[in-house]
């Protein structure tokens, strides 16, 4: 019944893997995504040749994927835990502004750029925690609570920033996050670390186990002695933290903080998570799937741009491709099980 929102018509509930584990079935599930990504890459090479297949372009794709990717990893937890968060973009904006306004930048000049990182992450976590408290203890449905946060956080960001783009003047910050040790950009490394940590947390810890339980059957979780409300707060706070991290990455990429940062991240992040195979109704989630979801969307845009497609044509094609990809993935997953 937990799948009812998704699929009004299945007779036999197809057993799908809960997380990233589950051996062959897990592979089958991601196989569709892998194939979709491979097809995309083939199209990219066929249509743009070396311009697509170069290391530079690969790194460009990864860099583009990194910011939204980190948010999507956090979103995977919230959705697996049975929730949703529309405020991620606004939180990224607020965190980026908070960390780049004059006060913080002055502090950063005194005690180092870590102050900026720290304040961004802190602001993100705090916003997430507020979401969590409203949802878990205030019992406001996640959609509404985070919609309210969306409005408030972006409004607050605008007020703090006075609608000015805040330019980062701290060279230490820019140097650190702009670096490319061994040719790999720092923000790509951060993305990799967050993904790995997310995978571990979801699949190898009691926290992850409880996330599945809270999302899959909150009443059962409660009866098993899990503090469902507290856990819910943790989940949203965790997503807030990843938003803070994403804000830092975005700050380094754009060398600015801005109240317009993170526009529509909520849709992008949720789309990546859901395409990846995490159920919107909670209880099942996969970090690896989310990673693929993010990469598919980013590669799509990249291939489009390499081919000089107009924005409108891109939008139409994107819609069609999403549908085809999902249908394909389902057929494959069904055949394997």
């Amino acid at each position: 019944m937990s799948a009812s929102l998704q699929d009004p018509s299945t007779t036999v509930p197809t057993p799908t893997p809960r997380g990233d584990r589950g051996g062959s079935v897990g592979l089958a599930r991601n196989l569709g995504l892998v194939i979709a990504l491979v097809i995309l890459c083939v199209v990219g090479v066929a249509s743009a040749g070396d311009r697509f297949a170069s290391t530079d372009n690969l790194l460009t794709i990864l860099r583009l994927a990194a910011v939204i990717g980190v948010v999507a990893i956090g979103m995977t937890f919230v959705i697996t835990g049975g929730g949703i968060d529309l405020s991620v973009g606004a939180i990224v904006a607020l965190a980026s502004i908070w960390a780049t306004t004059t006060g913080t930048q002055a502090m950063a000049d005194d005690i180092g750029w870590v102050a900026m990182v720290f304040s961004a992450v802190l602001v993100g976590t705090a916003c997430g925690a507020i979401n969590g408290v409203l949802i878990a203890y205030g019992r406001i449905v996640p959609f509404i609570a985070t919609l309210a946060m969306l409005a408030s956080a972006r409004g607050l960001a605008e007020i703090i920033a006075d609608r000015k783009t805040q330019i980062i003047r701290n060279q230490g910050f820019l140097d650190f996050f702009g670096a490319e040790p061994l040719g790999i950009p720092v923000i790509v490394i951060i993305f990799a670390v967050v993904t790995a940590a997310g995978w571990f947390l979801l699949n190898r810890t009691t926290f992850g186990r409880r996330t599945f339980a809270v999302g899959g059957n909150p009443e059962a979780a409660r009866l098993a002695g899990i503090k469902v409300q507290r856990h819910t707060v943790y989940l949203y706070a965790l997503l807030g933290t990843t938003c803070g991290i994403a804000a830092v990455m975005l700050m380094s990429r754009t060398t600015t903080g801005s109240s317009t940062h993170g526009n529509l991240y909520e849709l992008d992040a949720i789309a990546a998570v859901v395409i990846g195979g995490t159920l919107l109704s909670g209880g099942r989630g996969t970090v690896v799937g989310t990673l693929f979801g993010v990469l598919i969307f980013t590669t799509l845009t990249n291939v489009f741009t390499l081919n000089n497609l107009s924005t409108s044509a891109q939008a139409v094609a994107k819609g069609v491709i999403i549908v085809i990809a999902v249908l394909l993935q389902q057929r494959i997953a069904n055949r394997k099980t």
């Binding site: 609608r163 000015k164 783009t165 330019i167 317009t260 526009n263 741009t305 081919n307 000089n308 107009s310």
Partner: protein
């Protein structure tokens, strides 16, 4: 033809400007509505309008929530009509869509000043203040042509703003028309969304799409901050970049002359402030004292001059801080 520079001021020039037009007169209630301030230029539009109104003790400004929903913007104008304001300064999200309600306001005896995005009926506004979008493209294109000095086969790239807005289309058209005159064309074009982040994203992909570029025109300096970041990330410097709108940061960069950014095209963010000034004059029955004309003109088209290292000092004081 550079008459607009006097009008596009924000602060200093007001006190000392022309005649007794700035003297306090009858109280004027002005309603102001603009699209959502979701990028720097638009933010600056609202801010300078508010700042302008604050300078007059005879002006009361009502600012409606910035919105990209024409339905809501129409309702805001309706509210102003209900409130019987004296004038409405309106920067429509979509000029055509706001025409009928603007006309309704005019019919109700309210002076409507149309800013930036034009209505499709001359009866809908008393005066229209326009930036020259097509001219922007022409200025940028002309700069490229002059700089290229007749060289052929140069690669030109363009990063546009929000593609679904008519103004973006006009800018692009002006750009390609001007390039045509010297035998160049736009080889790669992407659209961003006027925000820093979208500029960075669009530019990152564009730079991959075009391994070698000679000229890059970016429509908007606010998204340009992101474009520059992307260029730096990609380690590219083989081309000349031209900006758009004319933010102070960009002018600083032009002045410093240490990046690919060599020029920008002004698109005044003080249009709405001008609108406020004109609305006040119209309601108080005054004229523009710099003109011999007794009436305020029907239309003002602000120039879109190109700013380079050579003339940057002229424009820097009036530029907006994004």
């Amino acid at each position: 033809t550079n008459s607009s520079s006097g009008d596009s001021d924000t602060s200093e020039s007001i006190g000392k400007s022309n005649t007794d037009n700035d003297k306090s007169g009858d109280k004027v209630v002005i309603g102001f509505s603009a699209p959502a301030a979701d990028h720097g230029w638009m933010g600056s539009i609202t801010k300078s309008a508010v700042a302008q109104a604050d300078k007059y003790d005879d002006v009361e400004l009502k600012v409606a929530e910035g919105t990209n929903d024409v339905n809501l913007q129409i309702s805001q104008v309706e509210t102003f009509i209900n409130d019987k304001v004296d004038a409405i300064v309106l920067l429509p999200f979509d000029g055509a869509a706001m025409t009928s309600v603007a006309r309704k306001a005019m019919d109700a005896g309210i002076t409507v000043i149309n800013v930036d995005r034009e209505f499709d009926s001359p009866f809908a506004a008393r005066t229209t203040v326009l930036g020259d979008n097509y001219g922007m493209g022409v200025s940028a294109g002309t700069f490229v042509c002059e700089d290229a000095a007749g060289k052929k086969g140069l690669k030109v790239a363009e990063i546009a703003g929000i593609d679904s807005l008519p103004l973006t289309q006009e800018r692009s058209k002006g750009f390609s028309d001007a390039l045509k005159s010297c035998g160049l064309k736009v080889d790669n074009r992407v659209a961003a969304e006027f925000t820093v982040e979208s500029g960075e994203k669009a530019a990152s992909n564009l730079l991959q799409a075009a391994p070698k570029i000679d000229y890059l025109w970016n429509h908007d300096d606010d998204q340009g901050v992101g474009v520059l970041a992307a260029i730096k990330n990609a380690g590219r410097d083989e081309f000349t970049m031209i900006g758009g709108a004319g933010s102070a940061d960009v002018m600083d960069a032009i002045k410093a002359d240490n990046s690919v950014l060599k020029a920008t095209v002004i698109y005044p963010s003080t249009q709405a402030a001008d609108g406020i000034k004109l609305a006040r004059l119209l309601v108080q029955g005054k004229s523009m004292s710099d003109l011999a004309e007794i009436e305020v003109p029907r239309q003002l088209k602000l120039a879109a001059p190109i700013v380079t290292k050579d003339n940057v000092d002229t424009y820097l004081p009036s530029a907006f801080r994004s």
